[in-house]
């Protein structure tokens, strides 16, 4: 198969949009946290527990939408836990994040094992069905690629605009951006720095968890161990790549997903000249390359990683 042909196939574009979805959720979630000055390395674990809890909810008889909501709430609770350590206690955001990831992923596996003892092949559920958008879905190529997708994908796409609007056009967005730049400025204007940061981390973590849930209740129909497989870390890289801007985050997620979709197809199409492991390495290597390209120019939120303590001299 010719590589040029590949770009014209509907399947390629549809796969790109599908694979971008969890990255969009995760990247937006991380972006919100970091804009508020909190690096959330809990993302990998929060995505895992989002994936597990949404799946478990459905497996126990719940419907898909409440499962999404449930995952978001679980994610938000881990966000609150993170904020308790990193915001209120002002402890190292790096170590807190790693701790949250270890806790959330091990809890996911533990709960899964306890609730489903002795299963060898993971049981399946009925995931979200693609929802064609009337009229738009009939556009050639673009229609099937963009407009016959999971409802969660539409939510992810519209969230990009929503997050951008909130950050740049609303008072609460201004407070979030300001608290990531200079918390003292926020405190001096009579706004509770801790509350703003905690809120941002909770909301961001909820989005990450929905990103994880998308994998188990939309793309796949089961929960596997290690299924997040570094997607969370890739999102952390994408936030830097996106210079903390939602629009660029969308672009980054799409580029990434397109590359991922491409490598799978090339891998299937080409002979076994290049071992598949090298294709699988590509997303991680690409993330590192993206970091190298962007880091020198990266304008980090000035108060990122800096804890705020009230009334301390």
């Amino acid at each position: 198969m010719d590589v040029v042909d590949l770009f014209l196939t509907v399947g390629f574009w549809a796969a790109t949009v599908r694979m971008a979805t969890p990255l969009i959720f995760g990247t937006l979630g991380e972006l919100i946290c970091e804009r508020a000055g909190v690096l959330n390395l809990g993302i990998e674990g929060i995505m895992t527990i989002g994936a597990m809890s949404a799946w478990m909810w459905v497996y126990q008889g719940g419907d898909l939408w409440t499962a999404t909501l449930f995952a978001a709430m679980v994610g938000a609770s881990f966000g609150l836990l993170h904020a308790g350590f990193s915001v209120y206690m002002g402890l190292s955001q790096h170590v807190t994040g790693i701790g949250i990831t270890l806790l959330a992923s091990s809890l996911s596996y533990f709960v899964f094992r306890i609730m489903l003892p002795g299963v060898t092949t993971p049981p399946k559920i009925e995931p979200f069905a693609p929802l064609p958008i009337p009229l738009l879905a009939d556009i050639p190529v673009l229609g099937p690629a963009l407009f016959i997708q999971s409802p969660l994908t539409y939510i992810a796409l519209s969230l990009v605009g929503v997050v951008a609007y909130i950050l740049y056009r609303t008072p609460v967005g201004l407070a979030v951006r300001m608290v990531g730049e200079n918390p003292m400025a926020v405190e001096a204007q009579g706004i509770d720095v801790f509350a703003v940061r905690t809120g941002a981390v909770a909301v961001g973590s909820a989005l990450m968890a929905v990103g994880g849930a998308f994998l188990t209740i939309s793309v796949f129909d089961a929960f596997y161990f290690q299924m997040i497989n570094g997607r969370g870390w890739i999102c952390v890289a994408l936030v830097i790549f996106a210079s903390w801007r939602p629009g660029k985050a969308l672009l980054g997620a799409f580029l990434f997903a397109a590359f991922d979709a491409l490598q799978i197809r090339v891998q299937q199409a080409s002979s076994s000249l290049i071992p598949y492991q090298f294709y699988l390495m590509m997303p991680y290597l690409l993330s590192i390359v993206a970091l190298i390209v962007m880091s020198r120019r990266a304008a980090y939120p000035k108060a990122l990683l800096v804890p705020f303590r009230r009334g301390e001299r």
Binding site: P171, L174, A185, V186, I191, K302
Partner: protein, 513 residues
């Protein structure tokens, strides 16, 4: 006196063993300018941070317009009509003036910001009070004086009736200070009340109606401006007579440091330096005046060895310096007192002992074959602690537990023990009390008498005039020809600092040529 708009009653605040505010009671009348005078560390800023809700007082009550003010809530203070201009500006550099002003003025859950209305209101305020700033400019692009205007505008925008200014003139030129005073008078004329915090007697006498003097956390005296004098205030403020060391005339010797046509671009994070010439000779102190952000840190980085000039040259004791490196500069005989003690001068979580050898640990006998020589270190540091009178409960306590003055003594000990030929003293007395200031000055004079050349960068113009043999002004990365201090007046200095080169015609022409 009219009915008080603000009443502080029995405010007490402790930080560990330190009593920062000791049973302070104060009244502020309507339309009054009350000056809070006291040296650094007297508790002025703590008191105002309590009033504004940043800190919670251990005891005491606050009434604003007769209503009790809840403790520890900046929001409540703002709502009660208190506005504060912090000494360290509380602005976000990457955001615009309008963003900074608008923050917190709308309900957080409003669906959108009302930017157009806010901009109109801000522009109107700017017109009324004569505080012109472009609302769309990002804070980072503004000069220090303009940033202060934004801080004042923030308070006015929130309808402040009581404005607190914490050391507002520290960063201004004399002319900017005059214009700030005009603004304050305009505010008072409109019925606002002002608390003006300062340690400068002249300014307090120029603007205040009433003056409360703080010393060691307590109000020791209160005067009407018309019924007091500078001398009376000074003795109330310091509480003891201190012989401030005086500069003795010495003739300068041969050149120690020669900077020729040095240039530095912005890539280094610091500010730009443009074609800087500077020669420092033995036994002289060169003062560098300037509004902060005009290239002082770049110049300091250059002398400290953190960067090399991109153009031009640097010679130390006649030898050209070709490679950057703080250790190499120290080896060449440069002693460096950094601008920010806490962030650059010491490692707060390491012990007094470990900090004292921070520039010397590589030398024998402090380290041999890669191993630290603990007994040699102990002997050496004990001697320094003793001879520089560093007050600490033991040499093994972390430096962060030391007072600012003792921290600065530690840095001076580290620097001066090597008997450097050149000393860079960058804001060496910032935030210190009078006793510690006198100590630092004395040590600098001693070094000068010993034969060292000294570069003194300071925002305190009176300090510069008292210590320097020659003074140069830095403005937008350009350094003027140093003038003998006898020929320099405060007014000249102020004009040059704001780019009106009355001070420095000769140098300007040479640059133009």
């Amino acid at each position: 006196m009219t009915t008080p708009v603000l009443r502080l009653d029995g405010i007490t605040k402790r930080f560990g063993p330190l009593v920062a505010n000791d049973d302070i009671s104060l009244d502020l009348g309507s339309g009054e300018v009350l000056a809070l005078l006291g040296e650094n560390g007297a508790g002025k800023t703590t008191l105002m941070n309590i009033l504004f809700g940043h800190y919670v007082a251990d005891a005491g009550r606050i009434e604003v317009f007769g209503q009790p003010l809840p403790h520890g809530s900046p929001a409540a203070s703002i709502a009660a009509g208190i506005g504060m201009v912090h000494q360290h500006f509380t602005l976000a550099d990457n955001l615009t003036v309008l963003d900074n002003v608008m923050l917190g003025t709308e309900s957080l859950w409003a669906p959108r910001q009302r930017r157009a209305e806010a901009r109109d209101r801000l522009t109107a305020l700017e017109r009324d009070f004569g505080l012109a700033v472009d609302p769309n400019a990002t804070i980072g692009s503004l000069a220090v004086g303009q940033r202060q205007r934004v801080e004042i505008l923030k308070a006015l925008y929130r309808d402040a009736k009581i404005l607190i200014l914490d050391e507002p003139t520290a960063v201004l030129t004399p002319q900017e200070t005059d214009s700030l005073f005009d603004t304050l008078r305009r505010m008072v004329a409109r019925g606002l009340s002002v608390i003006f915090i300062s340690h400068k007697l002249n300014e307090v006498m120029a603007i205040a109606d009433r003056i409360a003097v703080l010393r060691q956390g307590a109000v020791v005296a209160s005067f009407d401006k018309d019924a007091t004098s500078r001398e009376q205030l000074a003795s109330a403020m310091v509480g003891r007579t201190l012989a401030e060391p005086k500069r003795t005339p010495l003739s300068a010797g041969g050149p120690v440091l020669e900077i020729k046509a040095a240039g530095l671009s912005r890539r280094h994070g610091g500010q730009r330096l443009d074609n800087v010439d500077l020669t420092v000779r033995e036994q002289e102190i060169i003062g560098i005046a300037g509004v902060s952000g005009n290239g002082q840190s770049a110049l300091a980085d250059l002398i400290s060895g953190l960067v090399m000039p991109e153009t031009g040259s640097l010679r130390m004791l006649g030898e050209p310096v070709r490679r950057a490196g703080p250790a190499a500069m120290v080896e060449r005989g440069v002693g460096r007192v950094p601008e920010d003690r806490h962030s650059t001068g010491v490692v707060g979580d390491m012990t007094v002992r470990e900090n004292l050898i921070l520039e010397d640990y590589r030398r024998r006998p402090f380290s041999r074959f890669g191993l630290l020589g603990f007994s040699a270190i102990a002997t050496w540091t004990d001697r320094l602690i003793d001879s520089f009178d560093i007050r600490c409960s033991s040499a093994a306590v972390p430096v962060r537990s030391l007072s600012g003055g003792n921290m600065q003594k530690l840095i001076l000990a580290r620097v001066l023990a090597r008997e450097p030929k050149l000393i860079l003293a960058n804001q060496p007395t910032r935030g210190l009390d009078v006793g510690a200031i006198a100590y630092v000055h004395e040590k600098l004079f001693e070094a000068r008498a010993r034969g060292a050349g000294i570069v003194l960068i300071s925002e305190d113009l009176e300090e510069l005039l008292a210590l320097s043999d020659r003074i140069a002004v830095i403005y937008q990365g350009r350094l003027s020809e140093p003038q003998p201090v006898e020929n320099v007046t405060l007014t000249d200095l102020g004009l040059s600092m704001s780019g009106h080169g009355a001070f420095d015609r000769g140098a300007d022409q040479s640059h133009a040529a």
